[in-house]
Structure formats: C-alpha cells, structure tokens
C-alpha cells in the first residue's frame, strides 16, 4: 500500500468516544483551573509600571485591560463546557485558540501547562465526531487521539533530553528547587551532592522511561504507577508559588494516560469491526446508543 493511501486509510478510522470522553472531562476541568491561574497573571499584568516583555520577534499580542477578565471568564466557561461535553468540537477548538492567544501575549504569559492544555483542547476538538451512523454512537477520529498520545511522549522525552546538561546532572538545579519552601521541605542535611545528583539522574531516567513505556504493552502498567508518583513528588517539592502551575501541568499530562490502554491494534480492529458493522446495520433500542460521553 502506498504511504499516502495508508495514511488516508488511517485517518478514516474511528473509535468509541468513551475513553476520550474521560480525558475531555479532566482536561476541561483543568482548563477551568488554568483560567484561574491566568486570572492571577492578568491581575498582576495590568498594574501600573509593569513591564511587558516582547517575544523575540519584537511583538506582544494586545488584550485591552477591560477585556482581560471577561477573556479569562470565557476560557473558564469553555473549560466547564468541555468537561460536561457540550458542543465539544467548537468548544475545544475555541478554547485552544484562546489559550494560544494568551500564551503569545508576551513572554510572561507563556507557561508549559497552558501550552499543553492548548494542544490537548485542540486535539480533542479535532477528534470529536459526535453521534455517527444510524445507531448514533458517539465516535472520535483516531488520528487526533494518536497525536494526543504522541504529545505526552513528546513532553516527557524533551523534558528528559533538555536536562542532560552538566548543570542539571550536577544537582545544582534541584538544589535551587529544594531550597525554597514547597509543600514538603527536603531537610538540609539530606541535600548532599550525592543525593542531589542521584535525584537528578533519576528524574531524567523517569522521564525517558515514561516517554516510551506508555507505548509498551509490557511496561505501561508500571508507567501508570510511576507517572502519577513522579508528578506528585514534583508537586510536593517545588516552591509553593509554582505549585498551582505544576498541578495543572500534572493533571494535563496524566489525563491522556488511559488512552494508552485502549487496544487500537489492527487485530483488535478486525476482531471488533464485524459486530460494529452489524450493530450499525441493525440498530436496536436495547443496544447502547450513547457512551459514557454526554456530548450532543
């Protein structure tokens, strides 16, 4: 099969919406939480004598002060709509556009959690097909869901590779992080060079492992335990002012984990295609026409 034909064939594939509906609900709530974080930034941003820091291309995106709070309120509302599954496609795409706009307002409005949520909301919006076929089952396109999974691996992979520097591996960065008051304080006596260096190497190893293990049938169970533990550890140890952002980021990163457990192999496809085709051809009131998702 030619590559383009294989690719277009892959892009025609659909799956049940139920697994993505769970992700959609978590991401939606996380966007609402992120809107609160944006509100904290906005509150500081428009104070007199505050610095705007243009991007490298020399610009900032405008957002009049009068529109700032409504902007954040609308974003929170879109997050809640996404969480409950109302008009998922337009809501997801609009929330994504708004988050990208906020992200690019200037250097200070960037955050990794906002960036990740903007990508996730956009991919959820692209994936969501709504009721499909005579049976009206909620379906999602498979390719954006795959990209959502890829995104999680990309995050872990580059987080790990960017830490492969003498500065990080020496433990000096972790020493800076641990020096500030977090939810849990690492006792000063424990912050020896050996401990700091071991923790630095363990961080990189964990992130690299998570980047690949989630795709492995054998290792994804371990990853599903290690990932949340890793994010929880990070949350407890970061300086308190960063905790909200780290929590939003952790939720956004962990939300799609369940998608890795959905078997979308060709074997699973062929095994289940026949019953699905039969159900579509012969819809019955007794057969489930809606998944756990509530989208219209």
């Amino acid at each position: 099969m030619q590559p383009l034909a294989a690719l277009t064939g892959y892009c025609s594939r659909q799956d049940s919406a139920a697994p993505l509906a769970v992700v959609r609900a978590i991401v939606g709530l996380d966007i609402a939480l992120c809107a609160a974080d944006c509100w904290f930034i906005v509150r500081q941003f428009y104070q007199p004598d505050r610095l705007r820091v243009p991007f490298d291309w020399g610009g900032t995106l405008p957002l009049p002060e009068a529109l700032a709070v409504p902007f954040v309120a609308v974003l929170a509302g879109l997050g809640l709509l996404l969480a409950v599954g109302i008009a998922t496609r337009p809501v997801g795409l609009l929330a994504s556009v708004m988050m990208f706009y906020f992200l690019l307002m200037d250097q200070q409005t960037y955050s990794n959690h906002l960036y990740l949520l903007a990508i996730e909301a956009g991919l959820i919006g692209l994936a969501w097909l709504g009721p499909v076929g005579p049976a009206g089952q909620l379906r999602v396109a498979r390719w954006p869901v795959t990209l959502l999974k890829v995104q999680i691996s990309v995050v872990y992979f580059f987080a790990a590779v960017s830490k492969l520097t003498p500065a990080f591996l020496s433990g000096s960065v972790l020493a800076e992080v641990w020096a500030s008051d977090g939810l849990v304080r690492v006792p000063a006596d424990w912050q020896t060079p050996a401990v700091l260096q071991s923790a630095a190497w363990a961080t990189v190893a964990t992130e690299l492992f998570l980047a690949f293990a989630l795709w492995s049938r054998r290792w994804r169970g371990v990853a599903a335990v290690l990932g949340p533990a890793f994010h929880l550890g990070t949350l407890l140890l970061v300086p308190a002012p960063l905790a909200l952002g780290v929590m939003i980021f952790a939720i956004a990163t962990l939300a799609p984990y369940g998608l890795f457990f959905v078997d979308d192999s060709p074997a699973a496809d062929s095994a289940s295609a026949a019953p699905t085709a039969a159900a579509a051809a012969n819809p019955s009131p007794a057969s489930p026409t809606h998944d756990a998702a509530t989208d219209s």
Binding site: S16, D49, F158, S162, A271, A273
Partner: protein, 126 residues
Amino acid sequence: MSVSTDSPPASPRSWRHTVSALALVGILLAQIVPPTVQLLKPKPQRFGWQMFSAFNPIPRYELIMPDGQIVPVDLHQHVGAWRNEADYARYLPAHLQRVYPQARGIRVRWPDRPEVEVIPCNPSPP
C-alpha cells in the same frame, strides 16, 4: 488491561481523509520540530518542554539617584509574572529608565558574577 476499540468498515478514500492526513503530518511536525530546535538554544526555552532544566539567576537592580544615593529596586513592583524563560535582563533597564526618569544610572548585580554593571541614564530635567 485492555479495552477493545472498533473501526467502521473500510470507507472510500475521500478529500476529507486526505485533509486529515495532511493535518496529521502538519501537527506531528509542529509537535516535534519546535522542541528539537529549542534544544539547541540556552536553557530553558519556551515551546521546548524544558521544565526545571535550568534556573536563570535574577540580577539585583539598583538606581543611582541624582544625589548619588543608591536605591534598590523591588522587581516585584515591575514584573507581572515571573518566568524563568523570559528575557527580563534585556528589557528591564529600559523599563526602569522610563519609570524612574530622574535616575542617573542603573547598577546591575548578577549573583553569579563578581563585577557590577552600570548602565548610565540621562536624567530628565525636573
């Protein structure tokens, strides 16, 4: 633990699937290329997933007033949201000159450098 999924019977290739295929490739490139490029720059960078990869030191700024008095600057008064990736050092001196037009100069003390940088200002007449 595995949850089986299903696909509909093979559907004819359509323009919609071709657009989807192009979108898939485009988004995949957008996911991978920017963080790869950012790896080549000093850390941390935006759009690179470089969380906690490095800590940039924050300099201390002091204003040199017309009478020679040195007044430390509280950066929290001037920075809306602290970002480790943001290039504050490039924009803060000009900003401080705008906010404190009477200052004769700005002293910059980096925590990791022994020397003190002095940026002269042209104080505006009272």
